[in-house]
Symmetry: C2
Subunit: 212 residues, 2 copies
Amino acid sequence: MIPNRAFRPAPVTARDKLLEAAVKLVRRQGFAGTSVEQLCGEAGVTKGAFFHHFASKEALGVAAAEYWSASTGAFFAEAPFHHLPDPVDRVLGYIDLRIALIGGPAESFSCVAGTLVQEAFRSSAAIRVAAESSIMGNARALEADLDAAVRQCGIEGTTGASLARHVQAVIQGAFVLAKTQPESGAADLAREQLAHLRRYFVLLFGRDAQEE
Amino acid sequence: MIPNRAFRPAPVTARDKLLEAAVKLVRRQGFAGTSVEQLCGEAGVTKGAFFHHFASKEALGVAAAEYWSASTGAFFAEAPFHHLPDPVDRVLGYIDLRIALIGGPAESFSCVAGTLVQEAFRSSAAIRVAAESSIMGNARALEADLDAAVRQCGIEGTTGASLARHVQAVIQGAFVLAKTQPESGAADLAREQLAHLRRYFVLLFGRDAQEE
DNA sequence: TGTCGCATACCGACCGGTTGGTATGATAAT
DNA sequence: ATTATCATACCAACCGGTCGGTATGCGACA
């Protein structure tokens, strides 16, 4: 759930500018903590434009989760680790990429879907479902590689799908812990969690040497 | 960060009733999504009582994090796993207890400090610090056992403190993932994450058989 | 070619309700 | 008599959302 502004094309329409503003402000202040007027100010549009494109603030939240999902999904789909021949290497390659993407203050690497669902899981079913799609979609993208790795190494007692969910859990947990830190220490604490996840997989898949 | 109402004495003063209401409503709706009037309604007191005991809504947030920290800290400090002779068993005992405490809808087992910090880490330094104390305090309570386990097993490349932080990260991540699910599936998904954490520790500390 | 009909995109003033917070007073214990 | 603990009444600011209106563009048809 990472790519920053630089990875995406600059938004042109009011709708895209609002979605971009939503990503930025929700990561920094949360959803309930961000007003429609603030969103409009950040996007440089008016309230009229906002409610022309979105039926409600909740609808903007849903659209932001989908927008986030689409842009991060595309980013990871293009990543070079997919071309590695060994499935275990592909999994570790994903984790290493996630580690490399963590840097700066927490709001620059944390996840919109995770923030949204933590606030709105009970008050808005639509937002909960959109966040679920985003996070579980990320997990599903790892499932094939993890399944292959599980098969290849003869692992028992778990599945690729379950391990893929755990990857997402550790990432989300890393973001929460990072937010407890002052700006300077946030990224290090988050990376530490991904490093533990990596060690878990190295132990599980019996990979002693490390690459990268 | 678990104990439910049943673990704590019934609140008597208006202050305690407000803190109890804060725990309940923040877990369900988040901090920004909960109004002062709602808090007062849940606690059965008036706004006058609220602002007599707390200088601001933010101050209530800080106090709620501290209240949460104190009650959960006391609960885990009393748990029987501390009497196990082997430090690895104590660590696994903690995880098993956490797994046992997960059940019902997400708002009944998730963490107030994690929810607070996710929303308010940038807008309120006081809340961020209070949440950090809560979460890292939980980690510190595990540090001695994990350090002993690391020493006993001759683990290299990490420390008890780092592993203790990872335990908290997985717990927080489990809660975020749980909130993406409909009520019926939330607890299972959260427990799955703790099971992976347990497997990590079993692999790391070379513990093949399992107890419990 | 011009223009009519209509849809899309957007503006900004405005509305009723809610928000966090305050001022003041009542009650009861010390 | 004083102080701690609340209740009542109230306020200005802000909230999400609405509404009447404008600018632009596009296809149909005379």
